[in-house]
């Protein structure tokens, strides 16, 4: 459910890309400044390599610069940029990430996340810590990392997230739910690995 600020942001992006397509370099620069943090974050999380992430970031905006006139406007500018970045990251992808994850039942994921367990509160505390979140995200399968970054970190709508990942909305939602449970399970396990701070 987009709020007014999100809608205003989306409209501003559309204005900027229209001007960029007409050759306005300042408009393109403004677009870069608005989205480079998010694209860099997605690239870092997808590649898990600082140099590769920077390549992906640069390649994404070079492609956007050349393709601004081709922006169709059926999704947001943000989801268009994320889709470009995801393809660029795919070319840098590590082989280990191509191995499919064994499907796990929702029951098993829920139990791992702490359903019915007394230590489920450790997840709540860990979710407040940036370092803990980053460490846990790095352990997730790449497809699950991507959906969490787009939908939860960057706040794309469900529709735009699905479009950026080339998934149907139900498929995206299913992956998102599993990814959130797996992240909670990872935070819970990592919480057990560390001495809790008081």
């Amino acid at each position: 459910m987009p709020d007014q600020a999100d809608l205003a942001d989306a409209q501003r992006d559309r204005d900027l890309i229209a001007r960029a397509a007409a050759g306005d370099r300042a408009a393109f620069g403004a677009l870069v400044a608005r989205h480079r943090g998010a694209i860099h974050r997605l690239a870092t999380i997808l590649t898990r390599d600082a140099a590769a992430a920077e390549d992906v970031l640069q390649d994404t905006f070079v492609a956007a610069l050349r393709g601004a006139a081709g922006f169709r406007g059926d999704g947001s500018v943000a989801s268009w940029l994320f889709a470009i970045a995801r393809h660029a990251a795919h070319r840098h992808g590590r082989r280990a990430d191509q191995v499919p994850v064994a499907p796990e039942s929702l029951d098993a994921l829920g139990a791992a996340a702490g359903w019915g367990q007394p230590d489920v509160e450790t997840v709540v505390a860990a979710a407040e810590e940036r370092a803990a979140l980053e460490r846990a995200l790095a352990e997730l399968p790449v497809d699950e990392r991507a959906v969490l970054v787009l939908r939860d970190v960057e706040g794309l709508s469900g529709h735009d997230t699905a479009a950026a990942l080339e998934l149907t909305l139900p498929a995206m939602k299913s992956r998102l739910h599993r990814a959130r449970l797996r992240l909670a399970a990872t935070l819970r396990r990592q919480g057990g690995d560390h001495v809790p701070r008081s």
Binding site: M1, R25, F28, V32, R36, E134, D152, K173
Partner: protein
């Protein structure tokens, strides 16, 4: 404890299945009310829902922000080169 326990017309497994849509506000009003009634009476589901909700909130609030300054500067240089060549 079992996910087969039923409360407010929903088993814990059904609540677990709907938790994502519930957190994203994507449930119809009647379905949302049923989940909320279940959560009020079921500690295991309520605590898991709180944990997953905290994860979603943490991702949004803790991991945002701009790219590092050196990364942003090198991006600007590359784009200036590309624009110059076009």
């Amino acid at each position: 404890m079992s996910l087969d326990r039923e409360l407010a017309g929903l088993t814990c497994r059904q609540v677990l299945d709907r938790l994502g849509d519930y957190l994203d506000g994507d449930l119809a009003p009647a379905a949302r009310a049923a989940v909320e009634t279940h959560l009020r009476g079921c500690d295991a589901c309520a605590r898991l829902g709180g944990a997953v909700g905290a994860v979603v909130g943490g991702l949004r609030q803790r991991l945002g922000g701009d790219a590092p300054a050196d990364v942003a500067a090198r991006l600007s240089e590359r784009l200036a080169r590309e624009a110059g060549e076009a």
